[in-house]
Symmetry: C2
């Protein structure tokens, strides 16, 4: 006999524990919490994820998650559209926005190059970045990828692609105030803010 | 402007962080993990909770979560149906089953009496317990509720209800004492005091 008194319960626990960092005991506790909520609340809980997955839009310019074809940052006339900050993911945009130190726009790669995980340059938004730089009048590209080997590899790849395309643009990277090996989303705002202000030229 | 680049994303984060112990940053990480899964996987995730909520059955006898009108434990002819272990919730049934030490059946109250939280005797499965004891041929009731003030109150209330109904049944409670493997100096004084008063014969 299964450890669980109900297959439906077991399936819900399986799904909950498929989330990263959620063990089976925690998953059971969370599922039983949900089960104590009203039908409407459980519908709202489940519906939020399917609706997000179905209806989510990625900004045509920066590829950030958005509700509109052009995200509010890319659509804003108060932002400096000649400066593009290249980040790995959505959390990084939110983290940099929270510092209040950055007035340019973003480009969300959706990952970094990682041969170990089988993620190559074609799997992330690099082509669209190069296209964007070639097409628009860009002064500066700020590389704000994680200070990991994968981040460094991606920085260098982007640098080479811009060089090879013969585009004249200043390329900088965020200051190494961010501890090596750390993810941007876990860096405190002061360090992260300074690392943007004190960005240095990327020399490849 | 909202902290989140998308209202759909924010709503999903709101729902995820409504789970107990899940903060907003963790919720965002979990939601973005879900967003990287396939449509089918997100449907399966969300569907597991709505299906559980819609289709869950509570055993007519013991009120445990079940897929059938009578749960496998209550339906088993190999269990001792004259011994009922009274527990607060589903997890407690699973915990006791995991010990492999119990062969009787259960009664799941679905909570304990808590005036602070506005939970009275009518809000949990006490009437059905008394009815069950009066109707069936029960030898022993084992009270296995949490060793908290609410658990003690509920134990006492059940005891009085059985007395008042004039039912002749042995009523016991799980042993309270120093947990196996624990040092005496780290055991709280109430537990240690009771474990001395309620000492048992050493049989070597």
């Amino acid at each position: 006999m299964s450890e669980y008194p109900s297959i439906l319960l077991e399936q819900a626990v399986n799904q909950m524990s498929s989330l990263p960092g959620v063990g089976r005991r925690t998953a059971l506790r969370l599922v039983l919490h949900l089960l104590r909520q009203s039908d409407e609340q459980v519908e709202a809980f489940a519906g939020a994820f399917t609706r997000l997955k179905k209806e989510v839009v990625y900004c045509r310019e920066c590829h950030n998650i958005s509700d509109t074809e052009i995200c509010p940052i890319c659509a804003s006339t108060r932002r400096d559209h000649a400066t593009i900050c290249v980040v790995e993911n959505v959390q990084d945009v939110m983290s940099i926005e929270n510092t209040g130190q950055y007035t340019g726009v973003y480009h969300v790669l959706g990952g970094v190059i990682s041969p170990m995980e089988g993620i190559g340059p074609k799997d992330i938004e690099i082509d669209s970045l190069i296209e964007r730089i070639a097409k628009e009048n860009i002064d500066e590209i700020i590389l704000a990828l994680p200070t990991t080997m994968e981040g460094d590899t991606t920085n260098f790849y982007i640098y080479r692609r811009i060089q090879n395309a013969g585009i004249d643009v200043k390329i900088s990277q965020i200051a190494r105030g961010v501890a090596v090996g750390n993810q941007l989303e876990y860096t405190d705002e002061i360090t992260l803010g300074r690392s943007i202000v004190n960005r240095t030229e990327f020399k490849g």
